[in-house]
Symmetry: C2
Subunit: 218 residues, 2 copies
DNA sequence: ATTAATTTTTAAGTATGCTTAAATATTTTA
DNA sequence: TAAAATATTTAAGCATACTTAAAAATTAAT
């Protein structure tokens, strides 16, 4: 399947994780850097291929076939991240960028060899779970978005769901990284802001951050 | 640059190695599995991009820029082959197939990391030289095609320049592999056949083989 | 040196994956 | 709830990388 199609179903899959009501063409278009019109077009094409259900003005929903394709790409992406992270001294952002390309040119055979080599890891270096060869995520996901965390509680950062260099740089500078401990000192509900303390810092994060930083209760 | 373009310049580069007079659209078309018309079209486009010189009915000639692009892709291909060969238990044919895809989605940075990891190897598992990051092949190539080998002499197999599974299977079954020793027992000049002895076997090979098996004199 | 065979080129057309602009529907907000 | 803002869809068009069929040139064969 083409790279454009793989990226499209992957974008839907990823968007659904935190925003299932809003997986609409415009949303996907923004993520992929294409026009809304192109996304609508593509949605229709993929519906014809039974990869998703499309109804005018409604949210896009992956079919079982579409979900399988997305999970296959996601698996390869996360395996590459884990592999490159282990093998080479590269930044998480660089690793992400390479994986973003390699994921589409990786046979199931090679993916399996990589998984073998790594001892079939369950998580990638961002803390994201790696689907198995059948597209199943067997690890139960107990993590929640930071936006849904409870004031006063202490958490462990479990996932940084982003592909943005600025975001990673910001995180690196503020000790926001996989497996670090944070305390949610305040949820500003109406402003959709969250105040956390991490290491000896206090940081107020807006929704752009709190929707993609995932945490596990300690 | 697009995959189609990278593959096109690579095909010219590879063809030039053994058949410089015949690097014409039809030849490249056959290698790439596209129509002659498509190859002519592409040749014109690449000429406009200063990647090759094109004159009607004449052989295609890569410019310096085109050669650099070809060597960059060839480098990535051969590095992937060396890397996958070292890391995973996969057949040479499978490794080639993976490298054929990965080569186009590999940043210069990642290529360098792979080269570092391998200790900057000069040759891939087929015996083909790996260009350096500047697109230079520093190892002098003293090998010759088996078709040009001298009757009675003993050689070491230095390169198997193919990407065909049948060819590799045949080679594997007949001990024809990188670094093995062979003796050229007879050159049937008019039939363009070569008789070799390898291990305890005697094999007569036609031009399809003797043009792509390279050897070094012992 | 012609003729025949092959190759290359041209021409017309297709599918994919985008674009912008305008029309239409939905969602927000006041 | 009606107007304003926003999002989605439609329509027309474009570039890339191909196709087949026919014309033109080259190469090979007798």
């Amino acid at each position: 399947m083409s790279i454009a199609i793989e990226n499209f179903v992957k974008a839907i899959y990823n968007n659904d994780k935190h925003d299932i009501k809003n997986t609409k063409p415009g949303n996907i278009a923004k993520k992929l850097g294409i026009s809304n019109a192109a996304a609508t077009d593509m949605a229709k094409k993929l519906a014809a291929k039974d990869l998703l259900n499309y109804e005018k003005y409604q949210a896009l929903q992956l079919t079982e076939k579409g979900t399988k394709m997305a999970l296959n790409v996601v698996r390869k992406h996360r395996l590459w991240e884990a592999f490159l992270f282990k093998m080479f001294d590269m930044s998480l952002h660089d690793i992400h960028r390479e994986a973003e390309l390699l994921e589409h040119q990786t046979s199931d055979l090679l993916a399996e060899k990589i998984s073998d080599y790594l001892g079939h890891p369950k998580f990638d270096p961002h803390g994201d779970p790696i689907p198995n060869a059948d597209g199943e995520i067997t690890t139960e996901d107990t993590s929640i978005a930071l936006s849904d965390a409870i004031e006063g509680n202490t958490y462990t950062i479990s996932r940084l769901m982003s592909d943005d260099k600025e975001f990673f740089d910001f995180c690196a500078q503020n000790q926001i990284k996989y497996r670090n401990t944070i305390t949610v000192s305040k949820q500003f509900v109406s402003n959709k802001m969250t105040q956390i303390s991490i290491a000896s810092n206090t940081i107020v994060l807006n929704e752009d951050f709190t929707k993609i930083i995932y945490v596990d209760e300690n």
